[in-house]
Each structure stands twice: as structure tokens, then as C-alpha cells.
Amino acid sequence: MRLKGDPAKDRSSISESGGHILRRSAAVAVAVAIVAAILAFAAPAAGHAAGLRDAGPSGVEVPTWLFLTTGGGAVGASFLLASFVTDRAFIRSIHAWGTEVPAPGRLARWAVRTIGVGLLAVTIYVGFVGPTTGYRNFAILFVWVVWWGGYVASTYLIGNTWPTLNPFRTVAELLPTLDVNYPERLGSWPSVVGLLAIIWIEVVSPLADDPRALATAIAVYGAITVGGAVTFGTSVWFRNADPISRAFACFGRVAPIERTDSGISIRLPGTALSEGGLVESRADAAFVIALLYVTTFDGFVATWLWRDLATWLVGAGLPPLFVYFSVYLLGYGAFLTVFQWAIGRARSDADTFRSRAALLRRFAPSFLAIAAGYHIAHNLVVLIGLAPSVIAVGAAPLSPPQQPPVLASVPGWLTGVELAFVLVGHFLAVWVAHAIAYELFPARMDAIRSQYGITLVMVAYTVISLWIVTTPIVEPPFLAGESLS
């Protein structure tokens, strides 16, 4: 309970004068004004980059390097702005703001569970017996557009409902448990391996267009998940081994609504990330980093840079799948190394005896806000563009129209909205890391210094990711099959 609870503490003890508070408010006002000004610059740049991507409309085109630098600069500026907020009581009051409402009753929970199981059954059934064309099959549209694009967004924008909706959990809870002891030393590493495996399969297999392959994959995943949950017990399995539950638990921390033991708590978005408890081990931290990494890799394989690199490596005689796999793992290794470096910097810059592991546990969740921002950037346009298809195919899953309708032209400003979410995710991450530093380090200058390395990593990640998001999408080479969009 240290550094929490009593917001009047440092003010009462140091007797901050009215002038102090006034200065703080002024600093906040200035901060808001500057963020607005930077956004005003970043927004047209974003719009133009969108224009570039769609080979579209007129206007002054902002060159890519400038667009990327602006994004990186905005993140750097948000660190400088956050450093003006040095009042611990004020920071704490923002993170403590919230209320709690009672949880819904059993009946509502069971209704949601029934819907979850029903949707799963329909998806697998239509996947196996429905049309073989991806864009006409309800299973493909439902999984990739509704679930992956829409539902996942709800876990970080609204709240994580997966523990209730998760059909695999519902099924496993109806079955008797074997209660085999879960090997303690595995920790949550199985979820890390599972996440890397799922995204690997998603990238190299035709899961996005082949309904039969998708239905098979869901059935296999379901068998492993229900089998594991029955063997080790549902709470142990979904906490440590199931990558999807883990991912949603992480995203749920970004959301304003969270299910707690006593009810439903409502807070400001992202503020729950500054609390401990989500990341409790090295493996949990590795999972958060993997979550950030897989989004990047998924986008990266659809860029010209990867096409050229892979073509060159395969031309040199390496098997294509080996090229994909080794770069996949090397990239993850690079992400882990960079995070380790940033934490090492934080440790020495803040002159603290807190261990690297403890710092990693506390700071890793702040990056989840960034991961959420990029999830929107990757999915919003697809979600809206294919929404008419989902409705038309969903209305008659077994005899869908030959050419399901799509939104012919998605409004250009939607790309601007996507990029705004990317920036908001970054600002949130910078703020959360700032708040965590204030909780961990007694000296405020140490707290600011601890953010140098972390901010540098965030700036670099912004530049790389903005490039991936705005660079034209090319078909990943050497993988048969077309993508859905």
C-alpha cells in the first residue's frame, strides 16, 4: 500500500502553498495547449500520409521522413510535457479516480456464455460446410472482422468480457476437472509460446481466406484449450497457458471498465496500467513484449522492405519458411533486448536498488496502451469496410450472396482517426510510465531520469510502427493465398 491512498499526504507534510497549486494548474494548461498544437500539426500530416497510401487526393504531400519524425517528435514532446507534472498527489488522484458498480447477476452471465458457445458452434459448422470462398464464408468474416477487428477492440476500449464470453472456458467448466498439478516452473511461459505460435500460423497459413483451414484451426485450438483447462483446472490454465485469455486480460487493463472481485470498477482509460498485479513474472513481461511484437511483425511482412529482404535471402538459397521463422524469432529477440536495455537505463539513471526484474514488471504494462493503439490502426478500416459483408453473409450463412457488399470507399479521414489512436496510445503509455516512476522513486528528478531510455524506445517504436502502418501493403512473398482485404 505504499505511495497510495492518502492523496493529502505530501501536501500536508510539505505544506504546499496556494501559489504552488496555481503554478501546477498553469503547467497543466500549458501542457494541454502544446499537445493540441502538436496534434494540429500531426493531424494534417497524418491525413496526407493517408493520401499517400491510397495514392489519393491533392494537397501538400508530407514526405515520409517528415511524417515519421513528427510522430516520434510528438511522443518525445509528450514525455517533456509529462515531466512538468511533478505533484505526486495530483498524479495519484488521476489514477485513483473512479467508482464501482455491482456486477451483473448470474442470469446475465449465463446468457452471455450461451451466446458465446452458440457463436462458436455456428462458426465451426459454417467453416466446415459453408462456401469455400473466404469472403463469402461467415466463419472467416466472423473471426477476422467481428472478433479480431471488433471484439478485440472492445476489450481495451470498454472492458475485458472474455472470461465470461470465452466459449472454451464455459465448456471446460461444465466438464469435471482432473486437477493435475500445474508445473510451477513453467509459469506463464506457455502463453508466450502459444501467442508466438498462433501469430506464426496466422502469418504463414491461409487461415485468413480458407474457411476449412480456419475451422480446423479453431477445433484444434479448442481441443488443446479445453483439454488443458480440464487437466490443470480452468483458472490455472486461462491465467498461465492460454495466450488469448492472457492477451485480453492485458488489453482489459487499458479499458475504463474492469471486473473486480467486488463488482465492476470504472476508471479513466489506461490508469489501471500503473498498478502492479498484471505482470508478476519475467514470463508475464515477455508476454506483453510479445503482444507488442507480433502486431509489428504481422504488419512488417506486408511491406516492400520485407519483400525485398525475403526475396534476397531466398535467392541466396535459404528455404522461404526458414527465412520467415528465423526473422520472426530474431525480431522477438531484438524486442526483448531493447526492453532489457531500456530497463537497465532506467535502473542506472534513477540510481535505484530496485531490481531489473521488478522494474520490468512495473513498466511493461504501460506499453499495452501502445499495442491497443496499433490494433485499432491495423483493423478499423477493414472492420468498417467489410461490415456490410458481415451483415449480408450473417443473414444467410449457408447461402450467402455471390458478391457480398463492401463499403466501396472508406472515408479518408478514417485513416486520420487510426493514426490519432496510435498517438493517443503513445501519450497514454508515456503518462502511465511517468506515473509508475513517481510511485517507485522517492526523488522526483530520479523519476524523470528513469524515463529517458523508456522514452527513447517509445519514440523508436513510433517511428517504425508509423512507417509500417502507412507504407503500402504488399502481398507477403512466398506464401500462397490472397488476403481477405
Binding site: F41, V62, F353, R354, A358, P442, M445
Partner: protein, 102 residues
């Protein structure tokens, strides 16, 4: 090569193995109330004032006030640098965009 300290518990109250990492050859300043290892006298004064204010002695409270005021000076210097950085960023971008718009 590391030794554990007493304050090794998370918010949940569970004992973690490695909340602190004190190299064997270092001489940390240890908080008299919770045994947290700290690097400097100033860190200790601030830590005691922030976490143990009500149990601390008059002298420690005095040291906290001094450290806090000193910190305030350091922060003011940093704020000037940060403001300079923001102004540089803002006008840097303004200039580049203006040049490109010509």
C-alpha cells in the same frame, strides 16, 4: 551475489523474490522503518517523508522538508531545459513544414 531485503512484497502482499537487487560490494543506505535500500541520503530523506511521515522523528521531517525544497530547485532547472526542448521541437517542425509548403 545479491542479498534480499525485508521490503520485498508487491501490492498484492505476495512476497516476490527480487524486488531489490543490492550488489554485494555496495553499501546501501537502509530505511530504518521498512529496510528499503536507497542510494543517497537525499533519497532516504524523501522516502521517509513520503512513506513514513507520521512515524518519523522531527529531525527526519526537517530533513525531508530540506530535501524537498532542494529537489524543487533541481526540478525548476529541468523545467527550463524541458521547455526549451519543447520550443525547439515546436518551432523546428513549424520551420520544416513552412519550408515544405513553399
Amino acid at each position: 551475489m545479491t542479498r534480499q531485503t525485508a521490503e520485498n512484497r508487491s501490492e498484492a502482499g505476495e512476497v516476490e523474490e527480487s524486488a531489490f537487487d543490492v550488489p554485494a560490494d555496495s553499501e546501501p543506505i537502509v530505511c530504518p522503518y521498512c529496510s528499503m535500500p536507497l542510494s543517497t541520503e537525499r533519497q532516504r530523506s524523501l522516502h521517509i517523508g513520503l512513506d513514513h511521515y507520521h512515524e518519523s522523528t522531527d529531525r527526519e521531517q526537517e530533513a525531508f522538508r530540506e530535501a524537498y525544497a532542494e529537489e524543487e530547485k533541481e526540478l525548476s532547472r529541468f523545467r527550463i531545459v524541458a521547455l526549451g526542448g519543447l520550443v525547439a521541437l515546436y518551432f523546428g517542425f513549424l520551420l520544416v513544414y513552412a519550408l515544405l509548403a513553399v
